[in-house]
Symmetry: C2
């Protein structure tokens, strides 16, 4: 397998953590987003959407999107199960992963890409340039606060988002909670359940993969 990565970006970090938890060792190719390598003709011939992560399977299939990559890997390498074992667990993992993406990943990206002068004209990923919308950056910051509240409410009830065990939903939510620092947002002091969960995940070898 070949894994197109960018060591500093949150999206490929999600797939990278998943791959590390599975104990897999694909060939890694770094794409330097800061240098615009994802917009090069060479990389766009791999993924026309100009995004990382990308996984190329041993059979040559090109998979993009985190959920595409992890669905493939889980089916090929079922242990340890990270997308749930029972039907109920599978439902909860997919649900909490979706909530992390919508309520964590999306507003952080909106705040960063619409608020940072270095991302002028790059308000969305992909090959097409979109101008920044300052009101969207503001709204994003407000929503990141609500994201931390959502995590705290859930993690006060259960050790991991989908229940008793660490899953893909925790990887997604953890990567976004960590990446919120780029918009100067952190898990609030009083959110003790979330902070304990974050610290437990940070100790896993995959968190520094």
């Amino acid at each position: 397998m070949i894994f197109y990565d960018c060591a500093t970006a949150p999206s490929p970090r999600r797939a990278r953590m998943f791959i590390a938890e599975k104990g897999l060792k694909p060939e890694i190719r770094q794409i330097d987003l800061a240098k615009g390598e994802h917009l090069s003709d060479a990389f766009r011939s791999v993924n026309p959407s100009a995004t990382v992560p990308v996984l190329i399977t041993d059979s040559g299939l090109v998979l993009t999107e985190n959920n595409g990559i992890v669905s493939y890997i889980e089916a090929e390498h079922p242990g340890p199960a990270l997308l749930g074992e029972t039907a109920e667990q599978k439902g909860l993992v997919a649900q909490w992963n979706a909530l992390a993406e919508q309520r964590g990943g999306q507003p952080i990206a909106e705040a960063l890409r619409n608020g940072n002068p270095a991302m002028k004209g790059r308000a969305l990923t992909g090959p097409v340039n979109f101008e920044q919308i300052p009101a969207l950056a503001e709204r994003g910051l407000q929503r990141v606060g609500l994201y931390f509240d959502l995590l705290e409410e859930r993690l006060s009830e259960t050790p991991y988002l989908a229940g008793e065990t660490f899953t893909w939903a925790d990887i997604s939510a953890y990567v976004f909670a960590d990446f919120a620092r780029v918009v100067r947002m952190r898990i609030p002091e009083g959110h003790t359940a979330t902070r304990a969960w974050f610290d437990r995940i940070a100790e896993r070898p995959s968190a520094s993969a």
Copy 2:
């Protein structure tokens, strides 16, 4: 099973089509979004996020988010497989479903909720009110055009988004392509592969479920 639905909305339509394709007959409870029933205390005690669809399993588990609901149902009722059979298919289904959500569902929602006077103060789903951002409505319309281009490019190569068979990715992409009419966008005349795909899906009994 109990399924909280809204007959006129695209999100519950996705899960409803999936349930119909599986031949399941849950108890249906309609939530009238136009009347604000999703924001009532009664419904928020079912789903604090105030969104449909919601599925309550026979064991009493409450599942929200389309991907949570369909992951549960596919595991409980594997046939016909709608999330892929091989690892490669599972990867492609999850990938194309994610692309449909990000590049179809999201911009249509942005265009509608930020551009329609009837949705003033309701620029996002959920219990918190957010003001409309007119620039986001404009950007949404532009992105819906790119969504139709993405579908045409893919469907010129393969009969369904994830390959030879109809899957969850087609349900998502079809529901968004149809719902684009609310922002006065339609599959362009020249997009013949997409139009043929759309017509094939429209003939399935699940499309009018």
